[in-house]
Chain length 262, copies 2
């Protein structure tokens, strides 16, 4: 069975940020604890190590032997760290977790067996959510490594999907729309309500229902509202109530909905 | 106690659409079942009446006596229906449930005691959600009616807030942002993913987490992503990957986030 083979792998997690923490916690919960974690600063390395009960270290050269090294650091530090990891671990599988960095960056840094492990979730180390239902996108340099990366991913999630470096870029943009821009429209609602002495809390059942609906049906099927109905009277009245900035956004998003609905 | 007094009120629900159904069901669950429901068509009147176990009728003049009449019909039919209701029920409290119609419309239709009951939720009669945690906004023609409308609203929700007709218009616009436009940005993500052979399902944990976050913190605190960080490199790369329509929306929403963040 793949999973027992995977559980004999010695894993090192390089990084102690939000995603590194989520992955380390998920590995521990899967009975597949990392043998060590690394961070640039002792403080953050120790904090993660204490949390998951493993060794920590701030010197890549001093890390223990490993079969898989998962590098999860900020994009701007990835190449510098990967060069050191590739030098220390010539035979290990070296993975990164960055949405916007192509897999080939690892090869350019000297890795021989490499790939990507990209859990599609916004994570925060102060409130770690399970990765169990999160799709983990994987990529690998060859079929053998692909098998190992996929087996590893399956220990932390039920949903593992292969995605190329190019596809991963589109995942990242899509996530900006689904997650960052949904929060932006919540913010617009909050501003409007605050200005008129009304509680933002009143929006929460609507926000929750909008999120729940797309579990049951596609976004085009779930769309409601004046733009969906093509109700020009209501849309004009709404735009009149808004300042220029929000009126422009209202029009842009309503036009999008109407174009999809022709 | 207000609630026992409220429970002796005879309520008629005029309308059998999504909101009328949600309100009728909520009243039944509160032990305060309507004495009758009305709809223009026998089919929909009967469907709702069967569901909540009350009398139904398609002729307003034939409805039984009532203390409170809740009119919940499409905006375009409201005035025509309200004139007939005001004529039939000169002494009853007449309420409407429309976000965008001022309370005074009921007075113009001949009502003497009137108000508004506006549950802030997107409802669908095929999957009725509880109104228990939904903020119900109320308005009334005078303090006596206000007391009665508020007591009635408290039987179906824990959250009752007074809002003027003008405030209710802003609630409606805010709901378009929080609910309709959040679905629109989900749709943009879905289109991008479909185009690149990737599953929309992968966005659901992100969408859920974005919705959950604004229960714990305000939208400005919950904001993440390249625009929040002011990461021009990532934003430019993203825009290059999008067609003109989505690139324009990406820029508009990113600019909004960046302006809030200065």
């Amino acid at each position: 069975m793949a999973s027992s083979a995977v559980k004999n792998k010695r894993i090192v997690v390089v990084g102690a940020g939000n995603m590194a923490t989520a992955i380390a916690v998920a590995l521990v919960n899967a009975g597949n604890a990392p043998v060590a974690v690394w961070s640039r600063t002792a403080e953050s390395a120790q904090m993660l190590a204490d949390r998951v009960g493993v060794e920590w270290c701030c010197d890549i050269d001093a890390l223990p032997q490993a079969d898989v090294v998962i590098i999860s650091v900020v994009d701007s530090a990835l190449r510098e760290v990967a060069v050191k990891v590739a030098d220390k671990y010539p035979d290990a599988i070296i993975l990164h977790t960055a949405g916007s960095i192509p897999m080939c960056a690892l090869q350019e840094c000297g890795a021989k067996r490499f790939g990507v492990l990209y859990p599609m979730q916004t994570v925060n180390k102060n409130s770690v959510v399970s990765l169990d239902d999160v799709t983990v996108f994987v990529e690998a340099c060859d079929d053998v490594v692909a098998g190992e990366v996929e087996a590893l991913a399956r220990t932390i999630s039920k949903k593992v999907v292969y995605a190329s470096s190019e596809q991963r870029c589109y995942l990242h943009v899509a996530a900006v729309f689904a997650c960052n821009f949904s929060n932006a429209v919540y913010n617009m609602a909050a501003e409007l309500l605050e200005k008129h002495g009304l509680p933002f809390e009143a929006m929460l059942p609507l926000i929750d229902e909008a999120a729940r609906k797309v579990h049951r049906m596609s976004p085009p099927e779930a769309q409601t509202g004046p733009a969906r109905r093509g109700d020009a009277n209501v849309m004009n009245a709404h735009k009149m109530m808004l300042d220029d900035e929000l009126a422009n956004i209202y029009e842009t998003l309503s036009d999008y909905i109407m174009r999809r609905n022709r």
